[in-house]
């Protein structure tokens, strides 16, 4: 079916724009940059239609990538139903965001800005790696995509590379992801050790027969990788900083697709996890803790993109709860709906930022709902979706996760429901601050061009109806073991009530009685400071990890150990040799009389020695 065309099309776009884009007109950049992604989307549709019901995986082998001894690894792609879902999300949402970028990045084109073609080249490269990631038929090819999307994330976070905070954020993202990839690699090494292969089919076939301790170790190491890529505790710190990139990047990479790769990968590994209950428990607890902590941080952020960034961290936590409690298809379901509404929230805030010529601070917005109505109404639908209000998309998926969590252990359900309430609160806090009340800035807000609003409208449609339009769990029931979930309409009622309550509280605090918010903040100063400063996690990491490592390397390892000790010893041997040579040199004076003295001295010594030894016999 020529699966390779799916990623290679965007790669061609990257190559053409990357090599020649500097000289291209805007239209030409768009043609290659967006055309390639649209073609890829079309090819996905054609492929999936051609493959029928996909009850079994369709595998294509291209060439042997690495062979050493008995270990062979192919460049193989495969499509099953899980991959099909991912392909549609990546190319579908990807196409919309690429189109939106025409408008958003327009000002980057011109004699003084070379960024326009570069942006599309990076975005296309990202699409290539992301598609490799989801198409991979073995762990190492998946890892190619995995690291590759990380690279593109790095490049796009640091897109405005003249600004130090942007490149700092890029480095942070790459390095934190590398820590995750450390775990991922170690998991792969252990798989080869235990199963002799990295092919999905072989590994998953042999996994059930392996000892539980092995599977637990592999499962937890894989989760370390997923925690890096999908921004989970303790590796989530890079994602909020990643908002330094252009907003379409935040929507595509840091909300809809790349950051969900960890959820995809862990779900893909369900045959390992279902035999490693401890690893699953770890995932569920990490996911839930992340969901809760990130949600609380989201309540006190003033940068509109930061609010949604923490919201992404939090929602990814939900997905991991789904994976951790064994509701893999619910996790993927939430991945899909989240791609709709979170991409929309980001693109919408991009439209707001665009309207306000770069303003991102919620305190300088307000009253925008009449000035940019398209943006407002589409964002409202996304906000209702994330708040879990039926029948919006997020309701179905979040509910599936929470009910499965209840079946696993009720406290997870209750904490998840509380988090849902907080989520509704902070999302609507942002909405109310931006769109209600009176305008507090000094710009001239203007609605975005159709090339931006039409993608918003499509995503709004998906946020409203995506939940029942795409019954993902039913589609994936052929892939995953069945979900065990609590059948209880009251539980559903509680979570919906929590969402509605959150919206109401936000309404009271930010629309009806605006003074209330300040009053609350003033009266809970300690807690507010803690949350506002994101629990000082960045500062702790900096003090406990970054500073000691850098300082220790400089003072102890380099100056003291390397230059002082090791080189000192080497040079010391050198100069000792010279000293000894210097003494010995005195013997070779070239002076006949001194030689004669030495001869006499030596003869005397010899005679004395012989005499003491008993004389000549």
């Amino acid at each position: 079916m020529q699966l390779w065309l799916i990623p290679v099309l965007p790669f061609a776009g990257f190559a053409i724009n990357g090599l020649l884009g500097q000289r291209f007109s805007k239209t030409l950049v768009n043609l290659f940059g967006i055309g390639s992604v649209l073609l890829s989307f079309a090819w996905v549709l054609k492929t999936l239609l051609g493959l029928g019901d996909l009850s079994a995986a369709h595998v294509e082998h291209y060439f042997t990538w690495i062979q050493s001894g008995t270990f062979t690894l192919g460049c193989d792609f495969a499509v099953d139903r899980l991959t099909a879902v991912m392909l549609l999300v990546v190319t579908g949402i990807g196409s919309l965001i690429h189109i939106y970028s025409i408008g958003y990045m327009a000002h980057e084109y011109g004699p003084h800005y070379g960024g326009y073609y570069r942006f599309f080249a990076y975005m296309n490269l990202f699409m290539f790696f992301m598609l490799v990631l989801v198409l991979a038929a073995n762990f190492l090819v998946l890892f190619v995509g995995w690291e590759g999307v990380g690279l593109c994330s790095y490049l796009l976070i640091g897109f405005y590379f003249e600004k130090k905070f942007a490149t700092d954020a890029g480095n942070k993202a790459f390095i934190v992801n590398r820590i995750g990839d450390f775990g991922f690699s170690l998991a792969m090494f252990y798989m080869v050790k235990s199963f002799g292969s990295l092919d999905f089919t072989t590994v998953f076939q042999k996994a059930p027969t392996a000892p539980e301790s092995v599977l637990t170790l592999i499962g937890i190491l894989l989760m370390v990788g997923a925690a890096g890529k999908s921004a989970q505790i303790p590796l989530y710190v890079w994602l909020p900083d990643a908002m330094a990139g252009p907003t379409p990047v935040s929507a595509l990479i840091h909300a809809a697709t790349m950051v969900t790769a960890g959820v995809y990968m862990t779900s893909r590994c369900w045959p390992i996890y279902t035999h490693a209950p401890i690893a699953m428990e770890v995932i569920a607890v990490i996911g839930l803790a992340t969901a809760f902590v990130a949600a609380t941080i989201g309540t006190a952020q003033n940068d509109i993109k930061k609010v949604f960034a923490y919201s992404t961290v939090s929602q990814l936590g939900y997905m991991f709860v789904g994976v951790g409690v064994g509701a893999f298809s619910a996790g993927i379901y939430h991945l899909v709906t989240h791609a709709f509404f979170k991409a929309l929230l980001f693109l919408g805030s991009g439209s707001v930022i665009h309207a306000l010529s770069g303003e991102q601070d919620l305190r300088n917005m307000g009253g925008l709902r009449r000035k940019i109505p398209w943006t407002f109404w589409t964002m409202i639908s996304a906000a209702l979706a994330i708040a879990g209000v039926p029948p919006f998309a997020g309701f179905f998926s979040k509910d599936a996760i929470l009910l499965a969590a209840y079946h696993h252990s009720p406290w997870m359900y209750w904490l998840g429901t509380l988090t849902a309430g907080i989520t509704a609160f902070y999302v609507f806090r942002a909405i109310f601050l931006a769109f209600f009340g009176t305008y507090r800035g000094d710009g001239h807000p203007h609605e975005s061009p159709p090339v931006m609003t039409v993608p918003l409208a499509i995503l709004a449609l998906l946020s409203v109806a995506g939940g029942f339009m795409f019954p993902v769990p039913q589609f994936l029931s052929a892939v995953f073991p069945p979900i065990k979930e609590a059948e209880d309409i009251t539980l559903m009622g509680f979570s919906v009530a929590a969402g509605v309550m959150g919206i109401l509280v936000a309404y009271v605090m930010y629309v009806a009685k605006p003074a209330l918010a300040d009053f609350v903040a003033a009266n809970m100063k300690g807690l507010y400071t803690l949350v506002y400063n994101k629990y000082f996690v960045d500062e702790v990491y900096d003090r406990m990890l970054v500073k000691p490592v850098v300082g220790g390397s400089r003072m102890l390892l380099w100056r003291a150990a390397d230059v002082g000790l090791i080189d000192g010893i080497a040079n010391g041997i050198g100069s000792r040799a010279r000293d000894i040579g210097g003494i010995l040199r005195l013997l070779q004076s070239g002076n006949i009389r001194s030689y004669a003295t030495w001869v006499v001295f030596g003869s005397v010594l010899l005679i004395v020695a012989m005499g003491m030894a008993g004389g000549l016999r």
């Binding site: 060439f63 042997t64 990538w65 690495i66 062979q67 050493s68 001894g69 008995t70 270990f71 070379g114 190492l140 890892f143 190619v144 690291e147 590759g148 690279l151 790095y154 640091g158 590379f161 003249e162 130090k164 490149t167 700092d168 890029g170 480095n171 790459f174 390095i175 590398r178 820590i179 990839d181 450390f182 690699s185 170690l186 792969m188 090494f189 252990y190 080869v192 050790k193 490592v549 850098v550 220790g552 390397s553 400089r554 390892l557 380099w558 390397d562 090791i566 080189d567 080497a570 050198g574």
Partner: protein, 509 residues
């Protein structure tokens, strides 16, 4: 004519003719060096064609007497590892000629004379099968490098050159003693004959004897690698060397050490190698982490890359002493990868130096705006160096770490930390040099790549991609050779690897 000999004769002839070019014509020296190194490269491209990919042993051999007493023979041949190291050398020499085109302005003739002599010595090292001949080439390569650093280097060049020379000499004297000892024991310098005698049981070493011989060879090679803690000559030599010197030093000369370990130490002294493996692996792992950490805090670009070499070469040594097929293949592949990507890093740092006349990181910033293609090339090289998939280093690092994990999982855990750290120091370097706003004087002094520079950068980048995407173009002959090395390390091992030797077996022997 025997192809390896032809390859050896080309730079030698080039060297002799270059001596005759009048000093008044530096352009003539440059052009001649370029022509002869390109011809050598083109001829070397025939090697993989005539090389039998399905055979494990040395090929294309020629074995004629050189000196009658003691019997030293001109015995050269190519195996699956030497094959690629030869190509690496011939590939990089024209690039070194090009990179020195404007950089070297004084004593131009002598510079290229030494460069061609260096190529001759390096090629010889990788094909010599007679231990004495090997030693001769080993020393021949040392001399021109000494002069390259000592004459065309930066301020502290004499110190660096002498240090480099003394360190290497200290090791090679030990090796010479061991070679002579071997000759007294076995009556031959011929390496294949020695192996035959070992496997046939006509020659065997007592445990202590083997250990001492192993250490004599190993220390010589380890200094060259350089293995922690014998590495301190390297940063000095690199910082002071001219660009071409750094490239040859890092890309090819360091591989003399790892090649020596793989080619001589393991097959000749299998049980001593296995006995020492845990200790050496530990040193390699320390080198990986330590090199990376020290690299991170360097204020000088060349020193940073030099320490990163300590880290990268740690992977190679670790792979070798994992005694697994994957580890050995990865180690060899990593030798080639390091040759390409670190060579490219030194070339690119050299290009920056030519523009700004500084190696201090703090003197840069914002280069990406001024010279976008130079920055792109540097970025790709950086990514290759930190092991991004689809670029060359990834394949090598994966195989090394995987092989190590099969042998000892804990080692792999520690060594994999190096992969995190490499991202730290390289990306931080990249940020400080290329990102940010370029100051006005810097901007005006930073033209982008010119055609000559494109001609160096494009082949290097192309190799990074090729070796990362399709390693099967290179790995099969390597695997054949390393598989043979592994089987050779099974020979002659009973007394040390098995803790308690079976007395009956010992009696029978």
């Amino acid at each position: 004519m025997n192809l390896p000999t032809l390859l050896l004769m080309l730079p030698l002839a080039g060297f002799l003719i270059a001596l005759a070019i009048p000093r008044s014509s530096p352009e003539g020296s440059r052009v001649w060096a370029l022509v002869i190194s390109l011809v050598t490269f083109l001829v070397s491209l025939v090697l993989p064609q005539v090389f039998d990919w399905n055979a494990a042993g040395e090929q294309l051999a020629i074995n004629v007497p050189w000196i009658t007493t003691p019997e030293i023979r001109y015995y050269v041949a190519v195996d699956g590892v030497g094959l690629w190291l030869l190509l690496l050398t011939t590939f990089l020499t024209p690039i070194c000629v090009l990179v020195s085109w404007r950089y070297i302005q004084s004593r131009v003739k002598e510079f290229y004379v030494f460069l061609l002599l260096l190529e001759f010595g390096l090629l010889g090292v990788f094909i010599a099968q007679d231990l004495f001949l090997f030693y001769v080439f080993w020393e021949v390569s040392l001399v021109p490098m000494y002069f390259l650093v000592g004459i065309w280097g930066h301020e502290r060049r004499i110190y660096a050159a002498v240090k480099f020379f003394l360190f290497t000499m200290a090791g090679s004297v030990l090796m010479l003693v061991a070679i002579i000892y071997l000759y007294n024991r076995a009556g031959t310098f011929s390496y294949p004959t020695l192996l035959e005698m070992l496997s046939g049981g006509r020659l065997s070493f007592a445990p202590t004897e083997q250990l001492l011989l192993f250490l004599a060879f190993f220390v010589a090679f380890a200094i060259k690698v350089p293995l922690f803690p014998l590495h301190t000559w390297l940063p000095d030599a690199h910082v002071e060397a001219p660009t071409a010197g750094s490239v040859m030093l890092a890309s090819v000369m360091l591989k003399m050490g790892t090649y020596g370990i793989l080619h001589f130490c393991l097959p000749l002294f299998p049980s001593a190698s296995r006995q020492c493996a845990p200790w050496i692996a530990m040193l390699a792992i320390i080198g990986i982490i330590y090199g990376a950490l020290v690299s991170m805090v360097q204020p000088n670009m060349k020193k940073l890359v030099a320490y990163s070499s300590v880290s990268h070469l740690g992977f190679v040594v670790l792979g070798i002493f994992s005694f697994t097929q994957l580890g050995l293949d990865g180690a060899v592949y990593q030798m080639l990868n390091h040759g390409i990507s670190t060579g490219a890093l030194f070339v690119l740092v050299g290009l920056l130096y030519e523009r700004r006349h500084s190696l201090a990181i703090e003197d840069y910033g914002g280069v990406a705006t001024a010279a976008p293609w130079l920055s792109t090339a540097f970025l790709i090289t950086t990514l290759a160096s930190i092991g991004l998939p689809m670029l060359n280093n990834f394949v090598g690092e994966f195989l090394v770490l995987q092989g190590t994990a099969l042998a000892n999982y804990t080692w792999a855990v520690w060594a994999a930390l190096g992969v995190i750290l490499s991202a730290c120091y390289m990306l931080w370097l990249y940020q400080r040099v290329f990102y940010g706003v370029a100051s006005e004087p810097l901007r005006s002094r930073l033209p982008d790549l010119n055609p000559r520079e494109w001609a160096m950068v494009v082949p290097l980048v192309a190799m990074m991609v090729w070796m990362g995407v399709y390693p099967q173009s290179f790995l099969p002959p390597v695997s054949k050779t390393t598989a043979r090395v592994l089987s050779q390390t099974q020979v002659n091992v009973p007394f040390l690897v098995k803790r308690k030797p079976n007395p009956e077996v010992a009696r029978a022997r």
